[in-house]
């Protein structure tokens, strides 16, 4: 009898230990939903990267991105004059960068964009001031959020960095606030195939929603913080206050070192609805 009771207790203990370890090892319930949203054909992500507001959205075949709606000047306006900022932002619903059907767009104004075919992107004669060289970074999810969709088409990482894998869940206090965090690890390898460092990504949830995304480098026996994002919104659709294009925007060709480029007179190609 004693033996049987002892067996039951042992069994129950084993179940409790298993359950406890399973809880510690499982991702937050919403992680899978975020993963589904970010890999779908429609999403809207808004976050703060060191006080700079960024928006990335996917709308069918279109990828759109914008940094700091209205620019630095408008951000200043927002502090000094909330009404001015409100009015300014109301008029600026166009993305800063866009990709659609093999073409990249850079909006200079809400009705004026420069266009570059994807096969022209590596051209060394592109106008340096147009900033095409960083368009992938502008359109890509940041590394900290790309943990949930590492193979996003605009997310380019060096071969030395492996895909992050989930390691554990933990409670973490950041800025005096308690979060439920999922930790992911990505390895950096040297050319001899040895692990030279590790990047840890902490996706932290408050009330079940993703609120903070942090990354840190573990190297030389130390931890160096890489970045910390404050996640504002991850939605399956672009909200009503999000990007809006009416198709009438004038599209001009990007500068490729030809005479039009030198004269700063980009040739008109057509309206956005015709070009796309």
């Amino acid at each position: 009898m004693w033996n049987l009771e002892c067996g039951i207790w042992k069994f129950l203990l084993a179940v409790i230990v298993l359950l406890a370890s399973a809880t510690a090892q499982a991702e937050q319930p919403k992680a899978q939903e975020y993963r589904r949203i970010l890999s779908s054909e429609s999403f809207y992500v808004e976050y703060d990267d060191n006080n700079v507001k960024r928006i990335i959205a996917q709308d069918g075949s279109r990828r759109m991105a914008r940094t700091n709606l209205g620019g630095t000047y408008r951000a200043l306006v927002s502090v000094l004059n909330p009404l001015g900022n409100y009015l300014a932002n109301e008029n600026e619903k166009f993305p800063e960068f866009m990709y659609a059907n093999g073409k990249y767009y850079k909006f200079i104004e809400n009705d004026f964009a420069l266009m570059l075919r994807a096969d022209q992107l590596g051209d060394e004669n592109l106008n340096p001031s147009e900033g095409w060289g960083t368009i992938y970074e502008s359109l890509s999810l940041p590394n900290e959020l790309a943990v949930l969709n590492w193979h996003d088409r605009f997310h380019k990482v060096p071969d030395a960095l492996s895909e992050p894998v989930f390691v554990a869940s933990m409670k973490k206090s950041v800025g005096g606030r308690e979060y439920d965090c999922d930790r992911y690890e990505a390895k950096i390898t040297n050319a001899a195939g040895k692990n030279s460092a590790t990047i840890v990504f902490d996706l932290c949830y408050a009330n079940g929603e993703l609120a903070l995304a942090q990354s840190a480098l573990l190297a030389n026996g130390r931890e160096y913080e890489i970045n910390r994002l404050i996640v504002k919104k991850i939605l399956p659709n672009i909200p009503s206050g999000g990007f809006k294009l009416n198709g009438k925007e004038k599209v001009h060709a990007a500068g490729t070192g030809d005479m039009n480029d030198l004269l700063e007179n980009p040739p008109f190609i057509g309206r956005l609805s015709e070009v796309q």
Partner: protein
């Protein structure tokens, strides 16, 4: 007969190793992290655009990302390594981009000729510079840089695997020999998808004198893409020039620590 064959094979292997050993001496210097390298890029650039300035894309070098370079001027560079401290300088006769890495800090500034003679420096402001935290992440992912993008390629091709990132290309020794004018060379190459890259290290005796780099291939759209770079080595020594490993006298450190 068999003995002669074995002897010839052994001699061939031996000679190949002896030839390859010339670059090994330079690999040891780079792996050791203590060096001073001065070079001059004398590549004639073919003019394919109306622009005098072109944009260099996402290649590994001091010009990381989107710095603009003049097509019509030769580049020169200085790289000093002393363990955790490094200095890189790339530029034209009268304008240089500089980076000084001291421990965990990174100082980025430009150096240009003053109207009064000598050099002036510009960090955040004229004569002032503030340190940024050193970017260990980029060093681990993309490797350390050696001046401009092409010279970085030439140097990382000879660094040992354990000292570079797996994102960097692993060149293989393909041939070695002597030119008609008596200079010896060692050729390294790599095929990366549709692109072939080759580097020739040319020596006068055991001393590295010139490096030639060429790369060509078709991109994903079937268009031919090629580039080349010819470099003259002015100095390659295992003694770091420590004068360059502190901020120059015309530049004040304004970092709040």
């Amino acid at each position: 007969m068999k003995k002669i064959f074995l002897l010839v094979t052994a001699l061939l292997i031996l000679s190949a190793q002896v030839e390859a050993a010339k670059i090994d001496a330079y690999q040891k210097i780079l792996d050791g992290g203590q060096y001073t390298i001065r070079y001059e890029n004398f590549t004639p650039v073919p003019r394919i655009t109306n622009r005098n300035v072109v944009e260099l894309y996402g290649k590994n070098g001091l010009a990381v990302g989107t710095n603009n370079f003049f097509l019509n001027r030769p580049l020169s560079g200085v790289i000093v390594g002393d363990g955790d401290n490094r200095y890189e300088e790339v530029g034209y006769k009268d304008f240089f981009q500089c980076r000084l890495v001291k421990g965990g800090e990174n100082f980025i500034f430009t150096k240009y000729t003053s109207k009064r003679g000598g050099f002036e420096y510009f960090g955040d402001k004229k004569g002032k510079v503030t340190a940024n935290p050193r970017n260990y992440l980029v060093e681990l992912l993309s490797g350390i840089t050696f001046g401009d993008v092409n010279f970085t390629e030439m140097m990382t091709a000879i660094i040992s695997d354990a000292k570079k990132s797996s994102s960097q290309r692993k060149y293989k020794l393909m041939a070695s020999g002597t030119t008609p004018d008596g200079l010896s060379y060692e050729d390294f190459a790599i095929r990366d998808g549709e692109t072939v890259s080759a580097i020739r290290y040319q020596f006068d005796g055991d001393e590295l004198k010139k490096i030639f780099f060429a790369s060509y291939g078709r991109n994903e759209f079937g268009e031919l893409r090629a580039r080349r770079c010819l470099v003259k080595i002015l100095e390659f020594s295992a003694t770091p020039d420590r004068n360059l490993l502190s901020l120059p006298s015309g530049l004040v450190d304004t970092t709040k620590r």
